[in-house]
């Protein structure tokens, strides 16, 4: 079948603008053929080129004394963790594929990010995942669809991660209308390596042979990068044949074979085939190496007959790698890949002419300057809307809600409703489907503030957390992004860890809409600023734009994940109360000193009043940093029995979670809430405000004075709240009232909600 002629329609169908086409003509000095047009279209898609976001991403800090490989240089940044050991980690999204086929979409997302990590020469050690779905609570057709997506995504992550034997040790899941029809599936993987094991993705050494290793190329996933760079529409369903099916078993073999190959010393460069497959890996390795690469498509292992050059080059079949081998050491590759029963083929050679050249059936079918293709995509500074945030109405609305005569009886039911909200409720139904214990490292199991993992080969303790409160980001993307970083670092501090570095996944709507682009810019600037404050350089990440269902754009969701180091296993701290009689202390203020009193954009408003309204709580860097340092100091001094930060749902939810996280559950009696605040402030505010920089800790009674003294020295406000009890109730006195909740009721709301919704 002859290639279609290149008409304006064909160009437009490839998502290439007339200006971009002119640029292609200029680069080539001629018209592209059909295959070359396809190659440009995927490389210049947002997914591969970041053409709409790159100018923003440059605002992130990427350097620091621990940074061994910077974000953007290679597949993932590499961070020094001491004693000659390093970690490589990055987050990646698979939102659109998961919307179309949740199980395989999520599964191949896991596979893709794992390849990025072992491409760096690192052995993958653990994964996290950050998920967003539409509401799952009612019996509507929409909720049924959301439950199907949720179940499918979790099963897909479980399938791939468990089979390959990499524990999924943490993550987050939220439910909100804005993700209906457009779920977010972001997965992080982290790997461990020695400093001298860092592998590079450059095609270096003129004349070096180029090997294709891994699964055969099929027609699946055709032009997925371009797919990810479009809005989801009804027609997207026609993209369905593009669905990729993952094979975690093959990937496990590929992982072991590649690490063995890298250890053999015969590798000059290595690159995974992710988005845009063979195309991306050939032109990127050539561009990085400052060389050219020529490959012969007839030699590529294929799953189907009769594939055209266009199909072979654009296929996104999974579990494949490109390896540039030192000349003369070809046999090593053959031996290792035969040992692992994996397909491989010598498909090309490194050239000195800077071209990506592809041959097929005795003819040259692609000849494009590699650097211009890989690294010189057009960059766009999109138009951002004016900032318009105006929350004047909100003060009035809030005072109405809080002064309603029923406010105090509302306290009783509000805590239960918040704990039963699927975004706050226990995610055990999710994480017990993930093998989080393989590799013998899960020192803190899922369910605490941060996951803690003992990396046995390096004898290091890493803590990791992923966070983003998208209601905050919707109301104020800059503040929301700052808080996401702060909250992540706070979670680490609660576990006894010091942050090392951060990775992010920027999930936004169509950047051509100025209001969406404003959100992106605000979030990036807020995040970049916070990264500087918390000293967490960015190791890489991913941008997922065009997250819009037919109805509307998603709430802006700049997910962040921070990885930290715990100096001494004795410092590992969890959120669960430990023993009756321990004293409960709040670090930080009871209520922030602003008109919104930390109630803006709160889960209380959303869950109890169906409103996403008001300005989010304000973050004060100095207070936040002082809090983290104080936590680490108290923990190192052996004073802290449990630590849990106040986030969604505020103080009451934090205390309840610390009760319920204990096995068996422990009660608490909060009897010392200062009367000044409870006098003038509604108990709803006292208990459910989401003011920042707050952590609930428990200490042994004999350590109370020493703890309070240290906190005073460190300048962190502290309030003694009450005691952990052995009883079966949570009891809180706020103002004139005392509220009592049987733990069994709270437990049912919190522990069983998601399972009951999902299992029916």
């Amino acid at each position: 079948m002859p290639d279609p002629a290149i008409t304006p329609e064909v160009i437009a169908k490839h998502g290439i603008t007339p200006e971009e086409y002119a640029r292609i003509q200029q680069i080539l000095g001629r018209d592209p053929n059909f295959t070359e047009l396809g190659v440009f279209s995927v490389m210049w898609s947002e997914h591969c080129s970041y053409k709409n976001s790159k100018l923003e991403l440059k605002k992130f800090p990427t350097t620091g004394p621990r940074v061994l490989v910077k974000a953007g240089e290679e597949n993932a940044g590499v961070i020094d963790i001491g004693d000659g050991w390093a970690i490589a980690f990055k987050m990646e999204s698979h939102n659109h594929p998961s919307a179309v086929e949740p199980f395989q979409g999520a599964a191949t997302g896991v596979g893709g990010i794992i390849r990025d990590i072992f491409t760096m020469g690192a052995r993958p050690v653990f994964s996290l995942n950050s998920l967003r779905f539409g509401p799952i609570t009612d019996d509507s057709a929409e909720a049924r669809t959301n439950r199907r997506l949720f179940a499918g995504v979790v099963a897909g992550i479980s399938h791939y991660g468990n089979c390959i034997g990499i524990p999924t040790i943490g993550g987050e899941v939220y439910f909100d209308e804005s993700y209906a029809g457009n779920p977010l599936v972001n997965v992080l993987n982290l790997g461990i390596l020695r400093h001298d094991q860092i592998a590079r993705g450059g095609a270096v050494g003129i004349g070096n042979p180029v090997f294709y290793v891994g699964a055969e190329t099929g027609r699946d996933g055709l032009a997925g990068a371009a797919f990810a760079s479009r809005e989801l529409t009804e027609e997207s369903k026609e993209d369905r044949p593009a669905v990729q099916v993952g094979d975690p078993f093959r990937e496990k073999l590929l992982l072991e074979a590649c690490l063995e190959l890298l250890a053999s010393g015969c590798v000059a460069g290595i690159q995974d085939m992710g988005a845009a497959g063979l195309t991306c890996s050939t032109c990127e390795t050539a561009s990085r190496g400052g060389t050219g690469v020529e490959i012969e498509l007839d030699l590529v292992p294929k799953r189907e007959d009769g594939m055209t050059p266009y199909e072979i080059l654009l296929s996104e079949s999974q579990e494949r790698m490109l390896v540039i081998v030192k000349k003369g050491q070809e046999q090593t590759v053959r031996d290792i890949f035969e040992k692992w029963d994996l397909p491989y083929a010598l498909v090309g050679e490194v050239k000195d002419d800077g071209m990506m050249r592809v041959r097929h059936g005795g003819q040259t079918v692609v000849e494009i300057p590699a650097r211009q293709l890989a690294d010189e995509a057009p960059l766009y500074a999109r138009e951002a809307a004016e900032k318009t945030a105006d929350f004047a109405d909100f003060a009035e609305e809030l005072s109405k809600i809080l002064s309603a005569p029923s406010a105090s009886s509302a306290v009783q039911k509000s805590l239960v409703a918040l704990l039963a909200d699927p975004s706050i409720a226990s995610k055990r139904w999710v994480w017990r489907q993930y093998d989080h214990m393989v590799r013998l490292g899960a020192a803190v199991l899922p369910g605490s503030d941060a996951a803690v993992f003992h990396v046995r080969e390096a004898d290091k303790f890493l803590a990791a957390s992923a966070d983003c409160n998208a209601i905050y980001c919707r109301q104020d993307p800059r503040e929301g992004a700052r808080i996401a970083v702060a909250e992540c670092c706070r979670n680490l501090a609660c576990s006894g860890a010091t942050p090392l570095a951060l990775t992010d996944n920027l999930n936004f709507g169509n950047p051509h809409k100025p209001e969406n682009f404003l959100q992106l810019r605000e979030a990036v600037e807020g995040m970049a600023e916070a990264c500087r404050v918390f000293d967490t350089p960015v190791t890489g990440g991913n941008v997922s734009l065009y997250n819009e269902s037919p109805v509307a754009a998603i709430d802006p969701t700049p997910t962040v994940a921070v990885v930290g180091l715990i100096a001494d296993p004795a410092h590992i701290t969890t959120s669960a109360f430990k023993q009756a009689g321990d004293v409960i202390i709040l670090l930080g203020d009871l209520v922030e000193n602003t008109p919104a009193q930390g109630m803006g954009a709160s889960h209380y408003l959303k869950v109890l009043h169906g409103r996403k309204a008001g300005s989010p709580p304000a973050l004060d860097y100095d207070r936040e940093l002082a809090l983290h340092n104080a936590l680490r100091a108290l923990i190192a001094a052996g004073l802290v029995r449990s630590a849990h930060d106040c986030s969604e749902g505020g103080l009451a939810v934090a205390v309840a979670e610390s009760c319920l996280a204990a096995t068996p559950a422990l009660g608490a009696s909060i009897s010392h809430l200062p009367s000044s605040s409870s006098g003038t402030t509604s108990p709803l505010v006292t208990l459910f405000n989401e003011s920042q920089s707050r952590v609930v800790i428990s200490v042994r009674p004999e350590n109370l004075d020493a703890t309070l003294f240290q906190l005073q020295q460190l300048g962190v406000p502290a309030t003694r709240l009450g005691e952990v009890t052995s009883g079966d109730t949570l009891e809180i006195s706020a103002g004139p009232e005392t509220y009592r909740w049987p733990l069994a009721d709270l437990h049912r709301a919190w522990a069983d909600t998601i399972g009951t919704l999902m299992e029916g």
Partner: protein, 227 residues
Amino acid sequence: MRFAVLQFPGSNCDQDAVAAVRSFPGASADLVWHKTNSLAGFDAVIVPGGFSYGDYLRCGAIAQFSPILAAVKEFAAQGGPVLGICNGFQILCESGLLPGALVRNRDLHFLCEHIHLRVETTATPFTKNARPGQVLRIPIAHGEGNYVCDDATLAELENNGQIAFRYTDATGATTEAANPNGSRAHIAGIRNAAGNVLGLMPHPERACDALLGSTDGRVLFESILSS
């Protein structure tokens, strides 16, 4: 004592088993590649967990034809101690070294969590140091751990004392709620008639280090090391 830890394509608890064994004084462990056909020089064999051959077709179905399995059969026939953990248990059932089969969990989900199991027999080299009726807290991590067999086989297992572990609650009582996967007669592990081959779904190697929340798995390794 020298342990062979088998390594199939897709094994993923092989390194964990090696690490656990090496944490005991006097024990050494080596990985043995599935294409090998001899176990000469080894005192005990562990068939570790994971997804051998992707668990495609049926869990453990493809692994039973590996060259190393022939060697395992010979080793077992001569009375050598063989421990199959999780996927290893499935492989031992598929290859006929243990009776019965393992099918999908009752609720169809993969489940990873700490559970309790009761020691039902101390007449195996891996449980001889345990107390009969001792309750162990050990993690499971499987999607297909639901033990099935026909009535005659079950009767035989019961009569010969071949049921090695049952799922229970923390007090040692068998209940539906404490049975994580719907396993017949709450079976978590069984042994062969001779007693030298033991398979179980829970992962004792994940319960050998206090840092990971339980050391109850150590008794299996201590038992074999003291024989």
